[in-house]
Subunit: 186 residues, 6 copies
Amino acid sequence: MISKLLPNSIKYDGSQIAPLWAYSMGIKGDSIVVFHGPMDVTPENMKDLEDRKAGETIRGDDLVHIIVERFDSPSSMRLAYYMQRLLVVCIKDVLETHGIKTTRNGDDLFINDGKLTVSIASAGVSGEKIHCGINITTRGTPREVKTAALTDFGIKDWRTLALEIAETFVHEIEDIEGDIVKTKSL
Amino acid sequence: MISKLLPNSIKYDGSQIAPLWAYSMGIKGDSIVVFHGPMDVTPENMKDLEDRKAGETIRGDDLVHIIVERFDSPSSMRLAYYMQRLLVVCIKDVLETHGIKTTRNGDDLFINDGKLTVSIASAGVSGEKIHCGINITTRGTPREVKTAALTDFGIKDWRTLALEIAETFVHEIEDIEGDIVKTKSL
Amino acid sequence: MISKLLPNSIKYDGSQIAPLWAYSMGIKGDSIVVFHGPMDVTPENMKDLEDRKAGETIRGDDLVHIIVERFDSPSSMRLAYYMQRLLVVCIKDVLETHGIKTTRNGDDLFINDGKLTVSIASAGVSGEKIHCGINITTRGTPREVKTAALTDFGIKDWRTLALEIAETFVHEIEDIEGDIVKTKSL
Amino acid sequence: MISKLLPNSIKYDGSQIAPLWAYSMGIKGDSIVVFHGPMDVTPENMKDLEDRKAGETIRGDDLVHIIVERFDSPSSMRLAYYMQRLLVVCIKDVLETHGIKTTRNGDDLFINDGKLTVSIASAGVSGEKIHCGINITTRGTPREVKTAALTDFGIKDWRTLALEIAETFVHEIEDIEGDIVKTKSL
Amino acid sequence: MISKLLPNSIKYDGSQIAPLWAYSMGIKGDSIVVFHGPMDVTPENMKDLEDRKAGETIRGDDLVHIIVERFDSPSSMRLAYYMQRLLVVCIKDVLETHGIKTTRNGDDLFINDGKLTVSIASAGVSGEKIHCGINITTRGTPREVKTAALTDFGIKDWRTLALEIAETFVHEIEDIEGDIVKTKSL
Amino acid sequence: MISKLLPNSIKYDGSQIAPLWAYSMGIKGDSIVVFHGPMDVTPENMKDLEDRKAGETIRGDDLVHIIVERFDSPSSMRLAYYMQRLLVVCIKDVLETHGIKTTRNGDDLFINDGKLTVSIASAGVSGEKIHCGINITTRGTPREVKTAALTDFGIKDWRTLALEIAETFVHEIEDIEGDIVKTKSL
């Protein structure tokens, strides 16, 4: 699994959840790509129908964005969500090493009762994809939701954090793959 | 997913990892079954070939045993391991609510540098299975490994803990299933 | 599997075969949804290319509509059609308890030589879907086809019939699931 | 799908449910094989754990035996059972054309309240298999179960019946395959 | 697998890679369809993102076109590419019997250092598809690529060649299927 | 995919086709392992039932043995055989660079009309496996079959050849994987 940080700000509008988006960034293969930038997901790019029905806004002025793609034949929506949960666990673990204690509820992380992250997983014919956004700032986040953000808890450098998350996730996935190849089937 | 606690002590010898073991206990369907008892895995029941090659002993005088079965067509060794990692995360989270801080490395939990758990996942044609054992006592655990145990950290009642773990895991899985059925594919 | 009757008349135009349509009706999970209403399938919603090529009209002034959705990772077009055949068998069985003898040919039911039903099955990345329509009246059905309808055979109350069909199908599917979890693989 | 009648009596002891049994009979490919003979399933060949746990006897002096094999990559226990249900529906339909009215409950057929059939489905890595036995005589069937048999209802010639069932099932399966190849995915 | 030669010239614009295209040509089932005609793939029909990114032209005035479709539940992008490689090997083998020695590099065939073929494979929910085009003439092929063509090496009759390729491929696939049904699983 | 040459002579008795055999040789992950040694496949290790039924002997005094393992969830017997065909094509291509012209018929290579190779593919729950043996000498091969061997055609050094085959196959597989990750689904 390739790990890559894109240094420039990129707006996440939900189009990046499409298969092969990473390829358009020059990345070929299973990957975790991290960057930062604002978020404003257009309704047609909302994969979670609950959000779309509710007419929710998925917004923020600056977030760390994490995009995971795994090529799979056949692909599995279920595996996409299991993988997403592990990604969120990795984020939680890394934040803890930075002294930020979060609570996980499904695929959401909270600091106290402020929502720190948004996330979606899905699958297409060619494989699984995950997006997770971590608020760098609470500016621009929806008013109706109490949110939390990294800068309010002393994280100045999103790059270091993002790279640690990517590294932790890659290690997690490769550790699983390493277990698979030494296990007898039932 | 059915959650069931078997009150009597049962020796875990590795045969319980076989498909449909829960059915022989009267449990019909996807399940998480918890019980306690000694552990002594016979070499032919070792699914992790690393253990078998090393001639390892997988032993202990008393552990909480957690057996998960998920029926799946077709089944997936990979999903088995993703599910296992989430089970171990659930155990970690529940222990934390009991004031026991553990460190996770793949599918192992440690207290300080003492190994608290053993775990294996695998798949057969009919579905996925997971075993995780949590030391209640360090007695009977292999001498060559530094181990940790629940009783040394103040857990007197394995039942309460086991039920909380089972409940947390069932909630985690059902939360994932709830996400799947509201997600558009790519 | 959730069984739900929608009391109001809804026009079936083929858009209801899309994944997650039931979710837009407030139903979350595997489901069989029944309602009644006219039918006029637009060409772009025809999944059976034979119909589309032939420029066929798929129409009627009032039918019982049955929509089945099963979430599946990975999904299977084949399973969709096997499930559809069983749905049609369930309809046949329920009609027989109401004194209506039908003949089944694949996924079509006939009374004498009048076509009583239309049906399609298909699959997307997220799972399988089935539609089956049962003519309440022959009014509005294509002229070039001899059709039959429930009202001509004494069925006044589509609701009772529809609920019995849904219940029978749910029982059939759950009976199969119950067999799966007690069967050893080969 | 190859349809073949083996003229000689063969005892069904459950070993015929193993993958590639038909190959040992000279049949290469997906197949439905019919023959007649006694039945006495040994416990180790019982795939239904409910039967095995109950210490049931699965016996009879003479039955029509139907063995279906479908090669599949990957295979599916679920598909095996859906296919089995359709096989039982085909048997029911053929019996009806011979003036024998049966009631189906899952994978069992009854005449009045006498059990006419036994059946199991399962899957291995290479594909799906089904066995269904239809009592030609009630002799030798378990005493604790009320059974029914073909000869008591005027069927003298098991061959004609068996061939009609095989033909009906092959037609059903090929009809499904014919639908699959003209259906757009969702 | 159905093998069919369409005698008329058809322009390949990439739309023929869509599932069920063969059905619109009256072909029902797994198939290899061969025809000839010009090629000009529109960017939205380019499945290989490398080509699309590079703004490549995929063109020629006259090619033999081979379209393979395999219905599959679930389908597999990986199998699509394995099948494509075998198709290209079959083309190579047939050309060799006509005295034309080619070199294969992945899915490309070269005569000396002139590129003779273009090819793509992909999968949708309903199955796998492959296109392979063989230059009949180098006219109209992209200027920036050195190309080779059948007519320059003495092939006058594309029909004979195309039919031999189709026949060889069908034999290859059926030979594999014949092996599958006599092989014990592990 | 790991490529490894085992320098010592190892007798191939068919047990090496079992999943995770390479792991017992210290190889962890997808692999192609090459070694040389005699061959005498015991009937219980024959996966091709045609061989077993015929009471065939699968023997030789010295062969190059190639063992491929690919971990896969779910696994596919079909993919195993497609992969095997490509392995045999790679062997053919490498031999040709050494001036040895072979003819391929399915998974068999012939020099003139002498059979040079034996091969089998199969799948278990954990993945796919392939064995291919190439006669170094005709000594010890079955009398009833006309065989060919490398030494009769000037190959003195099996190691060089084996490594070239392994390298060619690894390149082929990785080339396919590289195509998968740049292809849009249908």
